[in-house]
Symmetry: C2
């Protein structure tokens, strides 16, 4: 049985690696990206360039998108010349952007009206997870559609879980980002305190990182910050985007999240000071320099 | 060479296990505790009961204390009939209570004036770490005194690090508690969001606990809370005590810690609602019930 043709929209740092795994797995692949040059290496490996998302979708059985902001998702799916209008009936659309749960539901509803199946399937694991095909993939949609998409997900990730109906993938990603937000505040405050108290922060980490204060961030991001390395694993500007979506979504559910609100306000200050293109661990420097108070 | 006589002040849940390891290691042991019955099993195993901290210290070469609050530490060390007045010259006093870094320095200075060596050496690892002699021990004091105390520490713990001069052990413990404080907020908000969004929180954990949102608390405390188990590993009232010390210490250094201040205010509300004797994971129920807003 020949493999269905895929359209892949959004070949940035994450998308390029993910689309590459699908090519390697033998799927015919149409690609589109706002900046064409970011698809060049995929085209060199056999992908076919298309001049718009709709053009890419028109000849595909499955469209996968991973773009920037919810407004980009909205434009690509629902706008004039959007994917849902172009994808042939019976097609499957999978949005892997971290985006709004409510928008994911709107897309699923609109897709259903057009005879299309839709999934929201944001990921975690970063550029490394994308490169090594070890992403966690958090999926919202129905079980039959999930089963249909599973071989594609398995080419890109490892920890793949159907979390519920449309929007549930995005909600799960929001839960993930909400946990990270306050952890980053805790890590920054812990080490800012240690520095201010005249301790050696590396030696403090040695005592606390493996115990009840332990976290992925403390073990992986704090050592980078202490070495003065603020290069992005995950960009401050993207983290702010995610926190904004989470806060809006929580507000829509009338759930106050004071820890998340605090983290967002701290990152907004960091951003206002020029931190947008640094990694999220730049919050530690922000505290070390006393700019958070 | 016969082992030096020890006095152990404070045989609560932690102290009892720790003193037991020292008995097992062959040290002669005097014991005192505010509630005498909590020393009974140690006395049955060979420890000698004394009627006051001073009485215990008077015949010892080394005093170890692990009591409740900084005010208790102050009373036991510096009060009328305190340890520093009773301990023979050349003696060593080790406070393992989680207490104020400034008080630790005052005790070390007063001890030095009396010809005594002092260490602050709070621990992490909880009742289980105490039972299994796997505590992390964070030490403040000078190197020679640390070397002298090391065999005692090795009977009680595993990860034993001299962090700096007097007070540095307490400062390190504060760094630990500061990290935990915001992590608990993040974990509570993450799972409160998941529940409110209609997700299955256990399935969400499956997706997020091993990635960038991962923490000891998310892996160890969240599953307990989701099963409705709010029994104390670490008491809410003790955590509030620690956060209060950390905030006072940070204020003295003019370091604002908004995340810690938020965590404390949330735990104070939980305490006001009767949560003092629950475990710190009760913050999750507090959020689940919408009492945090």
């Amino acid at each position: 049985m020949s493999k269905p043709a895929l359209a892949f929209i959004g070949t940035g740092v994450m998308g390029r690696s993910m689309a590459g795994h699908l090519l390697d797995a033998g799927y015919p692949l149409f690609v589109y990206n706002r900046t064409r040059s970011k698809s060049d290496d995929l085209v060199a490996r056999g992908a076919v360039w298309k001049d718009s998302p709709a053009d890419a979708a028109r000849e595909a059985a499955v469209v996968i998108t991973i773009v920037g902001y919810p407004r980009d998702v909205e434009a690509v799916y629902l706008g004039a010349g959007g994917i849902l209008a172009a994808l042939p009936e019976g097609g499957l659309a999978i949005d892997m952007t971290t985006s709004s749960p409510l928008l994911a539901r709107r897309i699923a509803e609109e897709g259903a009206r057009r005879g299309l199946a839709c999934l929201d399937a944001p990921v975690s694991g970063g550029d490394r997870g994308a490169r090594e095909a070890t992403l966690s993939i958090m999926v919202g949609g129905d079980e039959a559609t999930f089963a249909r998409a599973l071989p594609l997900f398995e080419a890109m990730g490892k920890n793949i879980v159907l979390q519920g109906g449309p929007g549930a993938g995005q909600h799960t990603k929001m839960s993930n980002q909400i946990a990270i937000a306050s952890i980053m505040v805790g890590v920054a405050e812990s080490l800012a305190y240690a520095k201010k108290a005249g301790l050696d922060p590396e030696r403090v980490l040695q005592c606390i990182a493996s115990g009840a204060a332990g976290s992925w961030s403390l073990s992986n991001l704090a050592p980078r910050a202490l070495k003065g390395d603020y290069a992005p694993g995950f960009f401050v500007k993207h983290f702010i985007k995610d926190m904004k979506i989470a806060l809006e979504s929580a507000e829509a559910m009338q759930l106050p999240l004071p820890g998340l609100a605090l983290a967002r306000s701290l990152y907004e200050k960091l951003s206002a000071g020029g931190g947008d293109d640094e990694g999220t661990q730049a919050l530690l420097r922000f505290y070390f320099e006393g700019r958070h108070g």
